[in-house]
């Protein structure tokens, strides 16, 4: 990935529906070059996706619960991950190294859904602690993403 790729992705991070012609004009390159680079990025990274960002409250979610999960043994990480991805109402899952092994976000429309989530998580073998914490959805709050590493030039 070179500087042009990063600049293209930076524009698409802000608005993924930006026409290639607009991106081309902004970066001083042809629309065809932008299209080729974007397609190349997608070919090289099949996980690169674009999506619509919805207002979670307007679609009915009221609350996010985050879980900072610690596993019992390192060897449990793959099997715990396989179960966590099936968690009801899962929004986000990251694998970490340090004080916790996973961070999981679940989105709730109803406070009673907590019982379903907790029941599911408690039956997963290999988890030492769940460490839940609650935050209300703020439509203006950005949810952080490792993806944005691409776009912060901190050198």
């Amino acid at each position: 990935m070179d500087e042009l790729d990063t600049k293209i992705l930076r524009i698409l991070l802000e608005n993924a529906r930006t026409p290639f012609s607009t991106i081309g004009k902004k970066l001083g390159v042809s629309k065809d070059l932008v299209k080729r680079r974007y397609n190349r990025l997608k070919e090289r990274n099949e996980n690169l996706k674009s999506t619509v960002v919805l207002d979670f409250e307007k679609i009915g979610f009221k609350l996010i619960i985050g879980f900072s999960i610690k596993v019992l043994n390192e060897s449990d990480v793959p099997k715990v991950k396989a179960e966590l991805v099936k968690c009801p109402n899962i929004g986000y899952l990251s694998e970490q190294v340090g004080d916790f092994d996973f961070y999981l976000d679940v989105y709730l429309a109803d406070i009673n859904e907590i019982c379903i989530i907790m029941e599911y998580l408690r039956q997963i073998d290999g988890i030492e602690s769940l460490n839940p914490w609650f935050f209300r959805l703020n439509p203006n709050e950005k949810i952080p993403s490792l993806n944005e590493l691409i776009f912060y030039s901190i050198k």
Binding site: G66, Q96, Y107, F135, Y152, I154
Partner: protein, 169 residues
């Protein structure tokens, strides 16, 4: 705004691929493109749709740059001061280079503050952890280096939207 099956189909298509041409969505629905444009703009205006973005599972990020996911326990009376300190981190700590704190969010629980840190040096990583642990308003800190992440937009969010449309009749 009451959503119907047309709106759901538009959202489902765009959750799958935000760059889907509206003409393509219109053809699949057997509707004029202008109607799809109108519905999309309406959902945008009503705030149901906030925008369009890209993401990757796992991250495309530069291998040298790391994200730290930090949970902190903050003295309640000092929460505002701590958040201000973290939001202006670069200003207060000019000697620590190549480290950014893009997100800080308060929450409820034993750890009542979430902090996301980007850094590309080991010194930056240990400096930020030490600073957090030494801050008088912060009682406890737990840190994880993020290895990879996954988003579940298409399943969870779309299912919720379907439920909402069904319940509103």
């Amino acid at each position: 705004m009451k959503l119907d099956s047309i709106d759901l189909f538009i959202i489902k298509s765009l959750l799958q691929d935000a760059r889907t041409p509206l003409a393509k969505i219109a053809r699949k629905l057997g509707e004029p493109t202008s109607k799809i444009h109108y519905r999309l703009n309406k959902m945008h205006k009503e705030g149901i749709i906030k925008g369009f973005t890209i993401y990757s599972n796992p991250s495309l990020g530069d291998e040298q740059t790391h994200a730290l996911s930090v949970r902190a326990k903050v003295v309640s009376s000092q929460m505002e001061e701590v958040i201000d300190y973290l939001n202006n981190f670069a200003l207060y700590n000019r000697s620590i280079k190549h480290t950014l704190i893009p997100y800080v969010w308060p929450c409820a629980g034993y750890y009542n503050l979430g902090i996301y840190v980007f850094t590309d040096t080991a010194i930056g990583m240990s400096s930020i952890i030490q600073l957090l642990k030494r801050h008088q308003g912060i009682i406890d800190v737990k840190v994880g280096v993020v290895l990879n992440e996954q988003w579940f937009f298409k399943s969870t969010f779309f299912e919720q939207l379907q439920k909402k449309v069904k319940n509103s009749g």
